[in-house]
């Protein structure tokens, strides 16, 4: 490789869209490592990963939606609804675990199809649609659960919380599932025609349509897959909490999933971003929450910090967008 080749490689690496988020992650980790000696331990990393897996999986769906210049505010409540359906059916209605899980996932997919149908059919802005379904899913969660927490769940529903051991540290199967889902999303976005159509549609819907892309079908597929990711996240949530809790997953997950996507370098204007960036973004959010807890910052201040973080990240995005025209 000649000097120009090396230079090109260096340029590629520096300008790669995941470099910024990666540096932010390293800086965040370095900061907390210096602040507390409880941070830099394998068990703590395992804990961060467990905390990240829910938001991480939700953020996959959120990434797809935001890549098409949309936004989904309902992620957390749709997941909570799925989780309540899965656990209530199994515990109160005696439905076997597998059909109960599938029904819960199906409901989440149904919300995705509804979002996609309204975005393409009625041409409503995703912000308003998902603000509506956020409230619908929230209400349904409490109506269906009757505000009860479901315990004594079948093994299959708790599966993703089970652990395996790598050199003395426990990892959950849920974390593995999350990584597999990221690999699948990466494959779809980068190695298939569908992925290119997602980017093109997000960049300019009308231009993509004129190019001959069936943009309605692309959008419908994106919202449907997003719904699927919320359904899978619901199953992971049960594994994490070991119960069906109607109050779980409703407060922080919506903003955290958006924060993860934006910190990961995906533009809210659509068409630009990477799924690996989102994984790094989710890790940043996880490390922040974990680190702030370890150094004794109360939960309320964590809200404050993530709120500021997401506005900062969006401001950077806005700035870059203006510059590139």
């Amino acid at each position: 490789m000649g000097p120009t080749g090396t230079l090109q490689v260096v340029r590629r690496v520096i300008t790669a869209p995941t470099v910024g988020p990666f540096i932010a992650l390293v800086v965040t980790m370095a900061f907390f490592s210096l602040k507390t000696d409880r941070f830099f331990h394998a068990e703590n990393f395992s804990l961060v990963l467990q905390q990240v897996m829910i938001v991480g999986v939700l953020a996959i769906g959120q990434t797809l939606v935001i890549l098409t210049a949309g936004i989904d505010l309902s992620v957390g409540t749709v997941m909570a609804l799925g989780q309540v359906i899965m656990t209530k059916l199994a515990v109160a209605n005696g439905v076997p675990a597998l059909p109960a899980l599938l029904l819960g996932i199906l409901v989440c997919v149904g919300f995705g199809v509804l979002h996609g149908g309204l975005v393409t059919g009625v041409r409503l802005p995703p912000f308003i649609i998902t603000l509506g379904t956020l409230n619908i899913a929230f209400a349904l969660t409490h109506i269906i659960s009757n505000d009860l927490t479901f315990t004594g769940l079948p093994k299959l529903e708790l599966f993703w919380g089970r652990t395996f051991n790598i050199s003395g540290t426990d990892f959950t199967y849920g974390v593995v599932l999350m990584l597999v889902l990221y690999a699948l999303a990466w494959y779809g976005l980068n190695q298939t025609a569908w992925g290119r159509h997602v980017y093109a549609t997000g960049d300019n819907r009308e231009a993509a349509r004129l190019t001959g892309i069936n943009t309605d079908r692309v959008l419908l597929s994106v919202y449907t897959l997003a719904g699927l990711s919320y359904g899978i996240a619901a199953w992971l949530l049960i594994g994490r909490t070991q119960v069906g809790d109607p109050n779980a997953g409703q407060t922080t997950e919506n903003l955290d999933s958006i924060t993860a996507v934006v910190l990961g370098g995906t533009s809210l204007f659509g068409g630009r971003g990477t799924i690996i960036g989102t994984l790094i973004g989710a890790l940043i959010v996880g490390v922040f929450r974990n680190g702030l807890t370890l150094i004794g910052v109360s939960v309320i201040y964590q809200y404050l910090v993530t709120g500021i973080l997401v506005i900062l990240a969006v401001s950077v995005d806005q700035f870059l967008h203006r510059r590139s025209g």
């Binding site: 190695q191 290119r196 159509h197 231009a207 004129l210 001959g212």
Partner: protein, 266 residues
């Protein structure tokens, strides 16, 4: 020079948007191997006409035929399938994707065998090779086919759009103000490209505001006014002021004045 049979023909096209009549019985013919320029004032119906021809919208009335056969395009995709490609002035290029991806956008090729059919894996290498060949054929210099289109200059981007159209068009290419957003040098490059597309035997429909370009490139000039075709002239039979006069609906005396002015200027 023109063969008697038009390759693309439209009769009595009407398109209304509420009270506004964008097309009011427009006729149209394109002959094989020619560059046909469409000129007209703002609101004369140029864009609506080419959108009807490229499948981007559906006319309320009238008929279109391609190679003598009646056609009904319900989407741009239908027109593409029929061999008609369209270049828009600043649209239809996805900046986040690289050049090869843009050329193949909407018609990506997959790997052979189960990798393609089952895993739907893209044939990135094949697409890049083919895109590079297209660019060489058209004489477009691009440093890297893997470069994101967003990093290119306006002229290079338009070059990608033209190459894309030329690569896929089997019957004809439509260009809507392809140089409107470009500088002088870049405009020259795109105009050369348009000539090269014609040299390949593809007829071109060119919508432009720029009279010198129109008179330099076009074999025939289709003049629109108030949603209709009012005349078809050629650069040999008419001067620019005459064409502009027909376009704006100037009265014969105004036309005389314009011509006198031009003669005295010479």
């Amino acid at each position: 020079m023109n063969s008697p049979e038009p390759i693309l023909e439209a009769r009595g096209l009407v398109k209304k948007y509420g009270q506004v009549v964008a097309l009011n019985g427009a006729d149209f013919e394109l002959y094989p191997g020619e560059i046909l320029a469409i000129i007209g004032d703002n609101g004369a119906g140029k864009s609506t006409l080419i959108k009807a021809l490229s499948g981007a919208l559906q006319p309320d009335e009238g008929e279109i035929s391609l190679g003598g056969e009646r056609i009904h395009f319900r989407s741009p995709r239908d027109a593409q399938r029929a061999g008609i490609e369209t270049v828009y002035q600043d649209l239809a290029v996805a900046p986040a994707l690289d050049i090869a991806s843009n050329v193949f956008l909407g018609r990506e090729t997959r790997r052979r065998g189960p990798l393609g059919s089952l895993l739907r894996l893209l044939d990135k290498r094949g697409m890049r090779r083919e895109a590079r060949r297209q660019f060489e054929e058209l004489g477009i210099g691009v440093q890297s086919i893997g470069e994101a289109v967003g990093n290119l200059s306006g002229g290079q981007r338009q070059g990608v759009a033209v190459a894309r159209a030329a690569a896929w068009a089997r019957r004809l290419v439509i260009m809507d103000e392809p140089t409107a957003a470009l500088g002088v040098k870049e405009t020259g490059q795109v105009l050369d490209l348009i000539k090269r597309v014609r040299e390949r035997g593809l007829p071109v429909i060119l919508i432009s505001h720029d009279m010198p370009h129109v008179f330099e490139l076009a074999d025939r000039i289709h003049i629109m006014r108030l949603g209709r075709r009012v005349a078809v002239v050629t650069p040999k039979t008419h001067t620019m002021p005459e064409a502009v006069a027909i376009m704006t609906g100037a009265t014969p005396s105004e036309l005389d004045n314009a011509l006198t002015k031009e003669r005295s200027a010479e």
